[in-house]
Amino acid sequence: MTIRFDDAWQGARQVAEEVARGGRDVVLARDLTGRISLILDDRASALPSEDQASIERRLSAVAGPFAAAMPTLLASGLFAPEVFLDSSDLGLVEDRRIGRGRLRTADRGAVGGDWTTTPKASDKRVTLYGFKGGVGRSTATFLLARHLASEGRCVLVVDLDLESPGVGALLQHEANLPEFGLVDYLVEAAVGNEAGVDLVVRSQIIEPVGNGEVWVAPASGRPRRGYDYIAKLNRVYVDLPAGAEGDHGLRFADRIHAAVEACEAEVARRSRTPEVVLLDSRAGVHDLAAVAITRLSGYSLLFAMDNPQTWTGYRALFRQWGRIPELARTMRDRIQMVASFVPPGGGEGEYLSGFRDRAQACLAETLYDDAASDDPDAYNPAPADDSAPHAPLPIVYTGELVGLDHVRSPNWYSSTLVNAAYERFVRGAAEFVRGEP
């Protein structure tokens, strides 16, 4: 039987689990071409060569053409093994227990590594993400920012949808956008020239009564002669290699993190520390979304329309987290589904009920614990559980927003219909942001 990519990994994982169960720490690695090898930690206890040969034979058999040329590597023979084995980009599958070793994975892709890195999130940051575009995300970001500011909060909105920016223009008139945007910060910081790049501006469109403020960090600076957005965008995804002594390089994720921190620091300097930071993420399985959801934000609002392609997409995304139990537990506490666009009137109940069932099925299959588990602490909420991440915050469809030109209709957000459509989302998301769902 031909061994395909997925079969090879599953088989290799079983071999790795068996070795770990025998008490040895292992790292199961899959390189850029998909070839698999198992790193055996022999530093504390030597591994007899016949045992290594036996593991190698089993691994080669299950991985077939996806077995690496050296299917097993000994940690004692690695260059600077502590650096490789203590690296934060390894995914923990099973931790050490009495008599059992630790199993971790190192899955190397050309892109996508940030979906499974250990979260280093800040609870004040919230990502708004849709697997597919056109789900009302930027409008929702605008209205949520306005609501939070009306409660007296200082809110910063960062437009991380660099390929199709939008929320910046919703929050500020074009002529009053800051001189620079996120792409400017990223290219200037790459050559150490980021000082003086002011990239946030206080919204003059949302001006709440009271103490609240809305600040925006747009993707692009103010359009002007000689301002080349695309040339900068084409350079933002690079990882910077290590350079001079003490400089270990900066990965794309670190660079985005630094840019968001720079936005927060600028708001703090010019007014006060933002209490909530909304990250308007780009759609799809993209590294920018990965960084926003897993690296930057404490919570994520996941927008979806109830159709098969959306659930297939979310299932694939959640499965990546689900493969690493610790990450699955972390991420399911940090996400909340948003149902857009709910048909108004009589069809609403039926749509939401179907959405909820399919969201629950998607999460039960990927991030929730096994329903059959006898562990009393197992987390597997029923479809009807209103506090579960699958219980959606609804956004109702409204024709008012179709083809809306917010410049020609500057008071679009005051419309009763628009506010009614987003009301339950805004209320629920605000509770979610405050940590009181």
Partner: protein, 149 residues
């Protein structure tokens, strides 16, 4: 960010030195030692990739890790596989063309320095020198790309 060489890039300079010496010895029919140095040249180039591009770090105490007691030397042929399992992301992808093929140092062993060398043929020594040359070319291109990006 500058890509000017720091202490960590001593691996790059060492790779070049071992390579030049390997070529010199091979041209004078000193094949066993040439073969040995070609492996060291490849090891240094691979360590430069690990430290310069793939997140490995030279310990703070100073000097490459092989100078320090209790740390691993990281020799071929396993070192080649270590680069394969470490290379990831956009930076790592540039080394794919080099590492996707077979390990040309699969038959090279650091402990051959204790052997009498009679088994090392000119053909084998030149093969390893050519493989080391390919590695050095990749390493230098990566450095250049880093310096101008």
């Amino acid at each position: 960010m500058s890509s000017l060489p720091g202490r960590q890039s001593a691996f790059g300079a060492a790779a070049r030195r071992h390579y030049d010496d390997a070529v010199h010895l091979c041209e004078h029919s000193r094949h066993a030692s040439a073969d040995h140095l070609s492996g060291f040249a490849a090891e240094c180039a691979l360590k430069d990739l690990l430290v310069g591009f793939l997140g490995a770090r030279v310990p703070e105490r100073g000097g490459p890790p092989q100078d320090q007691a209790g740390t691993s030397y990281g020799h071929l042929p396993q070192l080649w596989s270590q680069v394969q399992v470490t290379a990831g992301g956009r930076v790592g992808a540039q080394f794919l063309s080099l590492l996707a093929g077979d390990n040309p140092f699969g038959d090279w062993d650091v402990s051959d320095r204790y052997a009498d060398g009679s088994a090392i043929t000119a053909q084998r020594a030149w093969q390893h020198i050519r493989a080391a040359n390919r590695l050095l070319t990749v390493q230098q291109k990566a450095r250049l790309r880093g310096a101008i990006s």
